[in-house]
């Protein structure tokens, strides 16, 4: 970063963002606010059934009611936090699992590297949702198995990135110098590579997070999600789908929320990735 970029006031740096990215950040901030304040924003008990089934919006229910007479707005407010939390946990599990596996594989030498990356290849070959399905039925549906299943199925993305960065760092003169000085693979992995993969991992996290959120919704939609009672977006979508003719609002509310948040996250992740490839390309020259 140049001195000029550091001293530039914050306002112009914000103005440098294009309108789509600004919209994306706005959506994220609103979603985070709802996630944290959800229980206080809810106007009704999100779990309470009532006789007013599939009511249109208005009439004391801001977004109407669902097939069980539950208030859609309140469910949405509480569900936002749940969906974001499960999605973020899954992406975090994937990051840690993938990065740690790759670092261990790279530190312990070629045979172990080949063996561990064969496992990575295996997970990569199975279509994600199907892998998660098998995993979840094996460990009983529930929050824990959903997060773990998605974490494992997305871990290869992080493992591949870590290995690529490791190899990139290994080609740098300073790691070569460290090697000459007698540093082993493990030391190089911990002292030299680990501090340098942060950016790549964060970018990958931004790309994987929306996919985890969507996957959690798809799993809930298929009836294998976190819980049949908690109003995560996917669960709301699943319960509203059979009634989409009578109560399209009950389906539309969670699907718009899901789409807006995943759209915003993907826009930011993509911008981040582009920035990273630009800077690495420039610094390579």
């Amino acid at each position: 970063m140049t001195a000029e970029a550091l001293t530039r006031p914050v306002r112009t740096r914000l103005a440098g963002l294009d309108p789509v990215t600004m919209l994306a950040w706005l959506i994220i901030i609103i979603a985070l606010f709802i996630a944290l304040a959800g229980p206080f924003l809810a106007t009704h008990d999100p779990m309470m059934f009532s006789a007013e089934m599939n009511e249109q919006p208005g009439n004391g229910h801001l977004l109407g009611t669902d097939d069980g007479g539950r208030d859609v707005f309140s469910r949405l407010m509480v569900g936002t936090g749940l969906s974001l939390f499960y999605g973020a946990s899954a992406a975090m599990v994937a990051l840690v699992l993938g990065a740690v596996t790759a670092l261990i594989a790279m530190s312990l030498g070629k045979p172990i590297e080949l063996a561990l990356f064969a496992v990575v290849d295996l997970v990569r070959a199975l279509p994600g949702i199907l892998f998660a399905l098998a995993f979840i039925v094996a460990f009983e549906p529930g929050a824990f198995s959903v997060v773990l299943a998605l974490g494992v199925s997305f871990a290869p993305n992080f493992a591949m990135i870590t290995r690529a960065t490791y190899e990139q760092q290994l080609a740098q003169p300073y790691t070569a110098a460290a090697k000459v000085l007698g540093a082993g693979r493990g030391r190089i992995a911990l002292i030299h590579v680990l501090p340098n993969i942060g950016g790549a991992l964060i970018t990958q996290f931004a790309i994987i997070l929306p996919r985890c959120i969507v996957s959690e919704s798809v799993l809930s939609f298929l009836g294998l999600g976190v819980s049949s009672e908690l109003p995560s977006w996917g669960r709301m979508i699943a319960t509203a789908t059979p009634y989409m003719e009578e109560a399209p609002h009950a389906l539309l509310a969670p699907i718009i929320m899901l789409s807006a948040v995943t759209f915003a996250l993907a826009i930011i992740g993509n911008a981040q990735r582009q920035r990273l490839t630009h800077t690495t390309k420039r610094s390579a020259i």
Binding site: L126, V137, V214, L222, G223, S259, I267
Partner: protein
């Protein structure tokens, strides 16, 4: 055999070995993970009340579910090797029949989506490079961003609300065209992203500059020099995307109420029919691995620099 051919053969042979290894891994992994599921198909039918206790144990005996896991595994892998996928306990039919009944519709959906994706993706990318000031450049940007940011799951449900409920243009259950278009556009975006980026990169290379200096026309440069060089990446992307297209097809089937692999998977999971779930995962996994192997081989045939030995 020249050393060149020998190295190529060794390369492909090594890839094949690796693909086989991963396939065996999938078979073993699937068997043991599925065995960890508490309760079996006989339990489910017992709870449903359709079997008495003695009938249940007779059924376990017949299905071999009371033998130790290792024996079950050896029996079963022997069967798989001979191409016999076993019997579905829930549907009381051979699994091969069940798969055979649903595969055509899933394959049709996946293949249609892939065809739409390849045709649209390659066409708009090539047109965008051929005519750099035309509308095709924003079109490439649009479908690229679309495929990155809009998951097929949410767009599928939204189009159900709009086209089936509000406009009444399509039936709410069993529409084929809309899911195929949604998956196709998604695929087109991924292809266009890779192909367009790559073509633009090749455009700046030395041999393109020298061709330009020799007075070769822009169209000829794009079609004869840039496109063939960029295609290897696209072939690899298509191989890698196959898993995604299948996953998408499975989700779309459930959303749009189409019969197929997705619907069968769900029924099998809910009925705890391990044997069917197992067969589906293995079939899909092996298909994807094989497709990746073929894509890899084609790339290595086209571009010798990619060969690892």
């Amino acid at each position: 055999m020249s050393p060149h051919h020998f190295r190529l053969a060794a390369n492909i042979g090594l890839d094949l070995l690796r693909a086989l290894g991963v396939a065996v891994g999938i078979v073993v992994f699937t068997f043991f993970v599925i065995r960890m599921i508490p309760g079996d198909v006989v339990d489910v039918r017992g709870i449903e009340g359709s079997l008495t206790y003695s009938q249940q144990s007779a059924m376990r005996e017949e299905l071999g579910l009371n033998k130790p896991w290792l024996t079950q595994f050896l029996d079963w892998s022997g069967m798989i090797l001979t191409g016999d996928l076993g019997q579905s306990a829930r549907f009381a039919r051979p699994i091969a029949d069940l798969l055979g009944a649903v595969l055509p519709s899933t394959l049709l959906l996946g293949a249609t989506a892939l065809a739409i994706g390849i045709v649209v993706g390659v066409t708009v990318s090539v047109l965008a490079v051929l005519f750099p000031r035309s509308v095709f450049v924003p079109v490439v940007d649009f479908i690229t961003i679309w495929s990155i940011t809009v998951p097929t799951f949410s767009i599928g449900i939204m189009s159900l609300i709009v086209f089936a409920v509000w406009l009444g243009w399509i039936p709410a259950i069993g529409n084929f065209l809309v899911p195929a278009l949604i998956l196709g556009l998604d695929t087109a975006g991924s292809i266009a992203k890779a192909l367009h980026e790559d073509m633009r990169e090749v455009q700046t290379s030395e041999f393109v500059r020298s061709a330009r200096a020799r007075g070769v026309s822009h169209a000829r440069i794009v079609l004869r020099h840039i496109l063939p060089n960029a295609l290897t990446v696209t072939i690899a992307i298509i191989g890698l995307m196959l898993a995604g297209v299948f996953t998408g097809a499975i989700t779309m089937e459930v959303v749009f109420g189409l019969p197929g692999l997705g619907t069968l998977t769900l029924q099998a999971i809910k009925g705890r029919d391990y044997a069917v779930v197992q067969a589906i995962i293995i079939w899909l996994g092996v298909t994807v691995i094989f497709a990746n192997f073929v894509a890899d081989t084609i790339r290595k045939l086209i571009n010798p620099r990619l060969r690892t030995i």
